[in-house]
């Protein structure tokens, strides 16, 4: 038997996408941050193509991590405030699907646009064009892991809205993603096989999809209970 809130992945995915589109400034903020900060790099460091290209893989990934971190903290706090989290928690179905729906919406609005925008930054930072495809792939996969891990942090820091505690909690978990993400781009620049670090990123994603929703489920219930 069905009940309200229909409990599904698609219901939450659609709703959060719709909310994101209605609230454009929140949606665009991390992307603008990503672009603006990257535009400053050639000014702050020398605008020499060789030196920039050396730093580019690391820089792009650091900014991607920060942009995700900025946006993930409100993933659950708005829902907690207006009572829709309560409604989600009392749905008779498994919570995992709504949670994954919300995270997928977050990735579609933050991670995927970042990956699609990254060639622009690649050009600014004189990244060799052979590295563009590996860069986009690593960002697309890596930011999905970042969204999942960030959501665990956002759920754990409820009822407060993330902030410093969130950054402290998730940063250590972001490090492996950062390392293998930038290694993917670096390998492509150096002419090595870049599919190996990318495969490790994909493995992280598989683990995160399996484990993070479980952790989020428990911490959301704790947030309501505490």
């Amino acid at each position: 038997m069905y009940n309200y809130l229909s409990g599904g992945f698609l219901a939450y995915l659609n709703r959060d996408l719709l909310l994101g589109i209605r609230n454009k400034s929140d949606l665009i903020k991390p992307l603008i941050f990503f672009l603006l900060v990257s535009a400053l790099v050639p000014l702050a460091i020398a605008p020499e193509a060789d030196r920039l290209a050396q730093l580019a893989p690391g820089i792009i990934w650091i900014f991607a991590v920060l942009a995700t971190l900025l946006s993930v903290e409100r993933l659950f706090s708005d829902d907690l405030q207006d009572g829709s989290l309560e409604q989600m928690l009392i749905s008779p179905n498994l919570l995992i699907l709504p949670i994954l729906g919300k995270i997928t919406a977050h990735w579609l609005m933050i991670g995927l646009p970042l990956a699609l925008l990254s060639p622009v930054i690649g050009v600014w930072l004189s990244l060799p064009s052979v590295a563009f495809v590996p860069m986009m792939l690593s960002l697309a996969i890596g930011t999905a892991v970042l969204s999942l891990i960030g959501a665990v942090g956002a759920a754990l820091t409820l009822p407060r809205q993330g902030g410093v505690l969130l950054a402290l909690l998730v940063m250590p978990l972001y490090m492996p993603v950062l390392i293998f993400g930038s290694a993917t781009i670096q390998s492509a620049v150096d002419g090595l096989t870049w599919t190996a670090p990318l495969a490790i990123l994909a493995a992280f994603l598989a683990i995160a999809i399996a484990l993070c929703p479980l952790a989020i489920n428990v911490s959301l219930r704790l947030a309501k209970n505490g």
């Binding site: 069905y2 009940n3 809130l5 209605r22 207006d82 309560e86 928690l89 009392i90 309501k224």
Partner: protein, 210 residues
């Protein structure tokens, strides 16, 4: 005999700061009955509802739903419950219609949505974002769920807050028709219902240490 009641609560207690929040609650609810939970501010009415919908763990006592212990029928219970709390879960950025659609069962047709909006008097605002509405109108959006739900057990925490006279009257009518169809309602309110006969239960503050 035990299965005629839809809800049976025995010695339900909740501890906060090493003290019981209210005196342990024991009550039964039969189909067609409305139970009015009374209590002063801070008596634990909202907490009581949160225990009923399993958001908070009680520190003692038991809840039986249609004769089954809560733990054995979690899915059946929660799919038969409608809860509208203080925070109405209405999203300001979504339109009135989108909010109602999202909070209604997946198989609700658009005619049902329209007629639900008409009955709460919001059919002309269907496409308006909810943040533009007044507090009472937002409450009406949340309460429009009463029209589309198929749940038989309703938990309404302060349903009449911010509603005007007409709105209260309308919600009372809807509650009455739900009771006539064999549903049951537990609600909290600081005002008495005019049209519906209700039993009331008072949550008494408890000073006793555990």
């Amino acid at each position: 005999m035990a299965s005629t009641n839809i809800l049976k609560i025995e010695k339900l207690a909740f501890e906060r700061n090493d003290a019981l929040l209210f005196e342990p609650v024991s009550l039964e609810l039969n189909p067609g009955e409305a139970l009015h939970i009374e209590g002063e501010n801070g008596a634990g009415k909202t907490t009581f509802f949160q225990i009923l919908i399993n958001l908070l763990e009680p520190s003692g006592g038991s809840i039986h739903f249609r004769g089954q212990k809560f733990g054995d029928c979690r899915y059946e219970y929660l799919s038969d419950v409608l809860f509208i709390g203080h925070q109405s879960a209405v999203k300001g950025d979504l339109s009135v219609e989108e909010n109602l659609r999202w909070m209604s069962p997946a198989d609700t047709s658009s005619e049902e949505i329209t007629s639900a909006l008409r009955s709460v008097g919001l059919e002309h605002h269907a496409n308006m974002p909810c943040f533009r509405l007044s507090a009472g109108q937002q409450r009406r959006v949340a309460l429009a769920r009463l029209m589309t739900t198929s749940a038989s057990l309703w938990y309404l925490d302060e349903p009449f807050a911010a509603l005007d006279k007409q709105g209260v009257e309308f919600i009372e009518d809807r509650m009455q028709s739900h009771l006539d169809q064999g549903g049951a309602i537990v609600f909290s309110s600081h005002q008495d219902l005019v049209k519906t006969t209700t039993r009331s239960y008072r949550l008494n503050p408890c000073r006793e240490l555990v």
